[in-house]
C-alpha cells in the first residue's frame, strides 16, 4: 500500500473510529457511506470498545508473505462488546491457549511495513484477557 493509503486509515485503525446509523441504529466499523442494514446515509461518529470475544480462529502455518518471519500465527474473528465483528491476529499467545468464546482486548501493534523503505502501518491486534 502507498503511504497516503496507510495515512488515510490512521483514525480508524488507531482509535477504532466507527459510526452509528441515525436511522436504524446499526453500529458500523469501519465507516461507510451507506448503511448496509437500512440504506440510510446519515451517521454519528462512534468509537468501538476495545474488548470482545473470539468467535472463530485458526493458526496459520503457511502464511502471507509479509508474515513469513512470524509463522505460525493466529487469526480470529473477534466480536467486540457492542456486537461489531472484525478480523485480526491474536498475539502474545501460545496457539494452544486460543479457543472460541475466550475474551480478548485490542492492542496497538505494527501491521505491516510497506516494503524496505516505506512507512510502517500500525493498527489493532488482539490479546487474550
Amino acid at each position: 500500500m502507498s503511504t497516503p493509503k496507510v495515512w488515510r486509515k490512521r483514525i480508524e485503525r488507531y482509535r477504532l473510529s466507527g459510526q452509528k446509523c441515525r436511522s436504524c441504529g446499526k453500529v458500523i466499523f469501519p465507516k461507510r457511506c451507506v448503511c448496509p442494514e437500512c440504506g440510510a446515509k446519515e451517521f454519528e461518529d462512534l468509537l468501538m470498545p476495545d474488548t470482545g470475544k473470539i468467535v472463530t480462529y485458526t493458526t496459520i502455518f503457511i502464511g502471507a508473505q509479509f508474515m513469513e518471519h512470524n509463522t505460525p500465527y493466529v487469526i480470529a474473528i473477534i466480536e467486540l462488546d457492542n456486537g461489531v465483528r472484525i478480523t485480526t491476529q491474536v498475539v502474545d499467545v501460545n496457539p494452544e491457549e486460543v479457543s472460541s468464546g475466550k475474551k480478548v482486548h485490542l492492542v496497538f501493534r505494527k501491521l505491516q511495513a510497506e516494503g524496505k523503505t516505506g512507512v510502517i502501518a500500525y493498527g489493532y491486534k488482539a490479546r487474550l484477557v
Partner: protein, 383 residues
C-alpha cells in the same frame, strides 16, 4: 427468452504447464471447443480470469485472446468475479444468446498461476484486502475460520472434512484431465502438512495452470448439429458481504443458497431432481457448506452425509465426479467453465470411468472469495 444449448466444449489438461503461457492455454482450449462444435467463427466471447494482472502482469486479455484465437474484431470481454469468474462468463454468454443479441458465443476461463511469485498474496486480493488480508488472513485461513465454526456448532469432525478430499481424489484418479490422478487415504489427508488449522494441505485446492471453453448457441441450432443435446435450463447469480466477519452466520454461504434458489426456480427443479453436481470445493469445508446450501443435505449434517458415502459416484448425490477443484486442480478463472464441462460430459455419457449412470440433470456451482459471489447453473438432457 430463447433457449440456450451447448454446441461444443474444450479443456486443457489441468496441471503445472511450465511450457505454456496464458494465451497458449486459452487458445488450446478454445480450438478444441471449435473442433467439437464444428464451427470456425463466433459472434462474441467472454473470458473469466481472476487475476491475470497479479498472476501474470497482463490485463486486457479479452482482445488479446481473441487476437491470438484468430477471431479479432468481435466483442471480447474479460469478466472477473474472483474464483467465480468462469461461471460468470458462462452466465454472460447465456444471457447474450438467450436475449438474441448473438447466436454463437464462446465462454471460457483461463488462469496461468505458476508464473507468479506470490500466489497466496494474489489470491488474498479476492478477500477484503483492507480489513482481512492486510491483517494477515490468507484464503486457507478464512476457510479455516468457517471450518472451526462449523465444527464448534455442528460437531463436524476433522475426519469428515478429510473424507471430502479422499472422495475427490478417488474421482480424480479416473479423470485424465485432472492434476492429481491418484487416490489418497484418510490418514494421508489428516497427516499432511497443516496449512491453517484445521485445514491440511490435502484439504486445500492446488495451484494450477489451465483453460476451459464452451461454445453456446440457440437450442434450435444445437438440435440440428448435435446428436446428444444439452440445454442450460437454469442460471442463478448472487452476492454477499466481501468480508467473512460481516456475515451473521459464519457457517452459512447465503450467496450459494440464493444463487441456487434462482437456478432451481428458472429450471423448475428441486434438489432431488439433480443427478450429479460439481460444487466449489476450494477447501474441504467449502464443499460441505455448499451441499447444505444447495439443499442436498440438511444444515449441519454434511459431514456425516459425506463420511457415509452419499456424495460418491453411486451415492445419493454424486458430488465433484471430476475430482473437484481439489484433485482436478483449480486454475481459478477456468474452474467454473471446467465444472460445467464435467456436467456436460456426464449428461452426454462421456465421463468414462466416472460416469454417473443415467444422469439427465446436472448442476455446477462456482463461487468467488469466501462466497461473496456465486453462480449456479443447471443443465438438462433434451430428449
Amino acid at each position: 427468452m430463447r433457449e440456450v444449448g451447448i454446441l461444443g466444449i474444450g479443456l486443457t489438461r489441468f496441471k503445472e504447464h511450465w511450457d505454456k503461457s496464458l494465451r497458449d492455454l486459452f487458445v488450446e482450449a478454445a480450438l478444441k471447443a471449435f473442433e467439437d462444435a464444428k464451427v470456425s467463427k463466433i459472434d462474441s466471447m467472454y473470458v473469466g480470469s481472476m487475476s491475470s494482472g497479479l498472476f501474470d502482469n497482463q490485463e486486457h486479455i479479452g482482445p488479446l485472446l481473441a487476437d491470438y484465437l484468430g477471431v479479432k474484431n468481435i466483442p471480447a470481454v474479460r469478466v472477473e468475479s474472483a474464483c467465480a469468474s468462469g461461471a460468470i462468463a458462462l452466465r454472460q454468454g447465456f444471457i447474450e444468446v438467450a436475449a438474441e443479441i448473438s447466436d454463437v458465443v464462446l465462454v471460457g476461463g483461463v488462469e496461468k498461476m505458476t508464473d507468479c511469485e506470490d500466489v497466496t498474496g494474489a489470491l488474498a486480493a479476492a478477500a477484503d484486502v483492507e480489513n482481512e488480508a492486510y491483517f494477515g488472513a490468507t484464503f486457507p485461513a478464512l476457510y479455516a475460520l468457517m471450518a472451526r465454526a462449523h465444527m464448534d456448532r455442528y460437531g463436524t469432525t476433522r475426519e469428515q472434512l478429510a473424507s471430502v478430499s479422499v472422495k475427490s481424489h478417488k474421482n480424480g484418479a479416473n479423470n485424465p484431465d485432472a492434476q492429481f490422478q491418484r487416490k489418497v487415504s484418510l490418514d494421508t489427508v489428516l497427516n499432511s502438512v497443516m496449512v491453517a488449522d484445521p485445514l491440511t494441505l490435502l484439504e486445500c485446492s492446488p495451484i494450477t495452470d489451465g483453460a476451459a471453453a464452451i461454445i453456446l448457441a440457440p437450442l434450435d441450432i444445437v438440435k440440428t448439429m448435435k446428436e446428444k443435446i444439452v440445454k442450460i435450463s437454469g442460471s442463478g447469480v448472487a452476492s454477499d458481504t466481501i468480508a467473512l466477519h460481516s456475515r451473521k452466520d459464519i457457517t452459512a454461504l447465503d450467496a450459494v443458497r440464493i444463487a441456487g434458489e434462482k437456478a432451481y426456480s428458472m429450471a423448475g427443479k428441486k434438489p432431488e431432481d439433480i443427478d450429479v453436481c460439481e460444487v466449489h470445493d476450494c477447501f474441504a469445508i467449502a464443499e460441505l457448506i455448499c451441499i447444505e446450501e444447495l439443499g442436498f443435505v440438511q444444515k449441519g449434517k454434511s459431514g456425516v452425509f459425506t463420511e457415509e458415502g452419499n456424495t460418491e459416484i453411486g451415492g445419493k448425490i454424486p458430488i465433484n465426479t471430476s475430482g473437484g477443484l481439489k484433485a482436478k486442480g483449480h486454475p481459478v478463472g477456468a474452474s467454473g467453465i471446467a465444472q460445467a464441462i464435467e456436467i456436460y460430459k456426464q449428461l452426454t455419457g462421456n465421463a468414462g470411468q466416472r460416469q454417473v449412470a443415467g444422469a439427465k440433470i446436472g448442476m455446477s456451482q462456482n463461487m468467488g472469495g469466501t462466497g461473496a459471489s456465486c453462480a449456479v447453473h443447471i443443465m438438462e438432457v433434451v430428449e
